[in-house]
């Protein structure tokens, strides 16, 4: 089993990273120095004005440590491609073949079904705890589940995306209800991004970006090309396969985390900067709280139907990546999406 390693997040401006032997030396703006062995790190997330020496980058590329660089506005600007370390050209040819529009449907269906089932699970949980009597919700939950039947019968990707859209809007309809604190400030008017126009959307977008980083790592660690996706089609600069792999986990990991942080009062309405144009940014302090929550969430275990064990998220992701690779090699019939139980 792959060992679960830590992610190093560097958010403090004017800090620097250098190599010394096999360890990374981090120097913060206040002069504080920390030495971290790279042995226990498997990815590096850098944000804003951080100096990183070329030796650090070379070391990371060589040892398969994923480096993502985010702008101050939380957009991923670049990542270090470690394809030399982990790529397998035969597997990639198989991936290329399988992601062609006419072949992509089976996996895309599985992904969408996984997503729908996990969204269904979240709404069921909410209903059980807070809204047992809500007729409208009960009806929508069954509608949502009903979409699965259509998905199964979908004839092409466009049709499939249509059903995905329907379920997503059914699911997001109840997002505001699930927020139980500062309801007036934490209110989303639909999903919007680039820039996010309300606090909830800002949190969701940020969370999806962080998850995106992890999904790229997942895909690359099993030797696949993150840019060739099934459900998401090719577009320059877009890591479509990473986006595909995210679908099963959005509601489970990020949506749940956002709601929890708001409901527990760990993130409050004051944690945001709102510009004159209405776009919303998360303040640095809240971003740290968010990342702490995210890392906690990653340590949670979920039952995995395939291995029959409870796995922590990084392990579980790795298993999903291996299952996809196995499907592409022709060892299993289809790609089984992860469904929470």
């Amino acid at each position: 089993m792959k060992k679960m390693l830590n992610t190093l997040f560097i958010e403090s401006p004017k800090s620097s990273l250098r190599m010394e032997g096999e360890s990374i030396v981090l120097r913060l703006a206040n002069g504080e120095k920390k030495k971290l062995p790279t042995l226990n790190i498997d990815s590096l997330v850098i944000r804003g004005s951080v100096y990183v020496s070329s030796r650090v980058l070379a070391y990371c590329a060589k040892h398969g440590i994923l480096v993502s660089y985010f702008s101050v506005n939380d957009r991923m600007l670049f990542k270090i491609d470690r394809s030399l370390a982990g790529s397998n050209v035969l597997l990639r040819r198989a991936q290329h073949e399988a992601t062609k529009a006419e072949n992509a449907l089976p996996v895309a269906k599985s992904i969408v079904m996984g997503k729908i089932l996990n969204q269904h699970h979240e709404l069921q949980r909410y209903k059980r705890e807070y809204a047992k009597e809500d007729r409208r919700l009960i009806e929508d939950i069954s509608k949502l589940k009903h979409q699965l039947r259509y998905v199964e019968l979908a004839k092409d990707l466009d049709e499939l995306r249509g059903y995905e859209g329907v379920t997503s809007s059914l699911y997001f309809k109840y997002f505001n209800d699930r927020i139980r604190k500062h309801k007036r400030e934490f209110f989303m008017k639909g999903r919007n991004r680039r820039p996010p126009m309300d606090r909830v959307n800002a949190l969701l977008s940020y969370g999806y970006q962080v998850l995106y980083h992890d999904m790229i790592g997942l895909v690359e660690s099993v030797g696949l090309d993150p840019a060739m996706g099934f459900l998401h089609r090719d577009r320059p600069g877009r890591m479509s396969l990473a986006l595909d792999m995210m679908e099963e986990f959005r509601s489970l990991v990020i949506d749940r985390l956002v709601i929890r942080l708001i409901n527990l009062g760990q993130i409050t309405p004051e944690d945001f900067d709102i510009s004159a144009s209405g776009s919303v940014r998360i303040k640095d302090k809240a971003r740290r709280i968010f990342l702490e929550g995210y890392v906690d969430q990653k340590r949670e275990s979920y039952f995995h139907f395939y291995t029959g064990e409870k796995l922590k998220l990084p392990h579980l992701w790795h298993v999903q990546g291996q299952l996809l690779a196995r499907y592409l090699r022709g060892n299993i019939e289809g790609y089984p999406a992860f469904v929470v139980r």
Partner: protein, 96 residues
């Protein structure tokens, strides 16, 4: 698994040099918790490599090394009091 590495390097002619070398090797594998004490989170293969490079660096006649194998559930075997709490590479969030 967690291994605690402690060392004593004699202060002879080459002592300072060996001392630096030993420390540098340890830094690559773990976190310094006290002056000549390191906590290393390693797998069996990595431990082997660590031991090999350390044992090549010291002078067996005058220096000594001690390894304490704390295993997987090392958490309830370690207690810290006072200043300079070390980072736990396995569980702490590495956010700076």
């Amino acid at each position: 698994m967690k291994v605690l590495v402690c060392y004593d390097v004699a202060r002879d002619d080459n002592g300072a040099r060996r001392l630096r070398k030993v420390a540098r090797i340890c830094e690559d594998y773990g976190i310094r918790v006290q002056y000549s004490v390191f906590e290393c989170l390693v797998d069996p293969a990595q431990l082997l490599m660590l031991k090999r490079s350390l044992e090549q660096a010291i002078n067996m006649k005058v220096d000594s090394l001690r390894y304490y194998h704390l295993g997987k559930n090392w958490k309830n075997k370690v207690e810290h009091v006072g200043a300079k709490v070390a980072i736990d590479m396995e569980n702490d969030l590495l956010l700076f």
